[in-house]
Point group: C2
Chain length 229, copies 2
């Protein structure tokens, strides 16, 4: 493996807050970033536009937007015609209906395919096990298991340099993620969080994702540039 390959990383970029801060961490660690956005038929396609802006801002080497229609499988309020739930229900247990079946396994496998083709061994994913504790594929034990699978099922099997799945915000609250992003120069006005934008293209302010974001900025002591635009 060459030195230049060792500095390549693939980052999954959704245009949301967590993946943008994770991308900022990859850049701050000196990686040449290849950004991957998966357009999976989600209703909040405005995220794709945000992903492009974020990738431009961080001057990634390449940005792939991959079309993959997970709607054909069904099973989630984010891809089906189910109503997106409004209001945080912190006492509720179980897996939220906004869970897209095996989404992070699919996303990581696509990032892995590109990384293996590039000779890269570093993948950045913006998941949080704090804010999304109900999603099984946001937990550290899932990430470590995927990493092991990646090292058994790719060219890394013959290589001393093994895959690392970096999840720099996995243990952070949304407030700490906001603070980390601000310390790394993230322009949060470029990001997008809402699951259910209004017909005029504004955040609804009511979905789980909007409320988590608002709470994060409030607790971090910063104004959300998106809400004051």
């Amino acid at each position: 493996m060459t030195h230049s390959e060792q500095r390549k990383a693939v980052a999954l970029v959704s245009g949301g807050l967590d993946s943008t801060v994770s991308l900022a961490v990859a850049k701050s660690e000196g990686f040449d970033v290849y950004a991957l956005t998966v357009s999976y038929g989600q209703r909040h396609s405005v995220e794709i536009a945000s992903a492009k802006q974020v990738c431009d801002f961080f001057a990634v080497v390449d940005h792939h937007i991959l079309d993959l229609d997970l709607r054909c499988f069904g099973g989630s309020a984010l891809t089906d015609n189910l109503e997106v739930p409004k209001g945080l229900k912190p006492g509720e247990s179980g897996i939220p209906i906004t869970y897209v079946p095996a989404r992070n396994t699919v996303f990581l496998s696509l990032a892995l395919s590109w990384a293996d083709a590039l000779g890269a061994r570093d993948i950045f994913l913006g998941v949080s096990s704090v804010d999304y504790s109900g999603y099984p594929d946001c937990r550290p034990e899932f990430i470590r298991s995927f990493e092991n699978t990646a090292n058994l099922g790719t060219r890394a099997v013959d290589d001393d340099h093994k895959f690392i799945i970096h999840t720099p915000v996995i243990a952070l609250t949304k407030a700490d993620t906001v603070k980390l992003g601000i310390s790394l120069g993230v322009d949060f006005s470029l990001t997008w969080s809402c699951y259910d934008p209004t017909p005029t293209g504004h955040p609804c302010g009511r979905c789980d994702s909007c409320q988590l974001r608002a709470k994060g900025f409030e607790e971090a002591g910063f104004a959300d540039p998106l809400s004051v635009k």
Copy 2:
């Protein structure tokens, strides 16, 4: 989990010999099969037509053909404009240039997404660690690791019924796979193996896949219905 969910399985069907026999095994075990074919920009798109024929033959409940362009990532003779190697080189070590980066991780993750949405926990994959010993993602240790990842990153985490990745031909020679298929009534004239068909749509007879198939039928003591068509 209901009884009907327990009888659902997702099978990855390429139209090739190994995945067809694996599908036949799933049917013989009484599963209601949901077949998934990934159209990943491979040059041998005639496989897709074979996959449809095979799925019709086995009367699957549903057959999804999912477009996913892995060519954008590059890195394989099967998806790039690299020459497909001719002739078996059994003494060669290392990973063949026909390896598509992380292909089985991507395919299994897509099957997993569908299975999780269906409430199914059984996935059938037609890989052989005998004939494709150079591919890291055809080995049992990779399959077991993916299974573990699947059980950590999906709704199975809250469920006593865990994912099983069935690989019924993983330890079989091509000859034994042919014999198994014949015992299960597989019509091999519907299948396709060639990586590099002629302009008139016939198997080249020279690529690794054609030679493995010919050797399998010969050792099994059967005529390949495709070669006598």
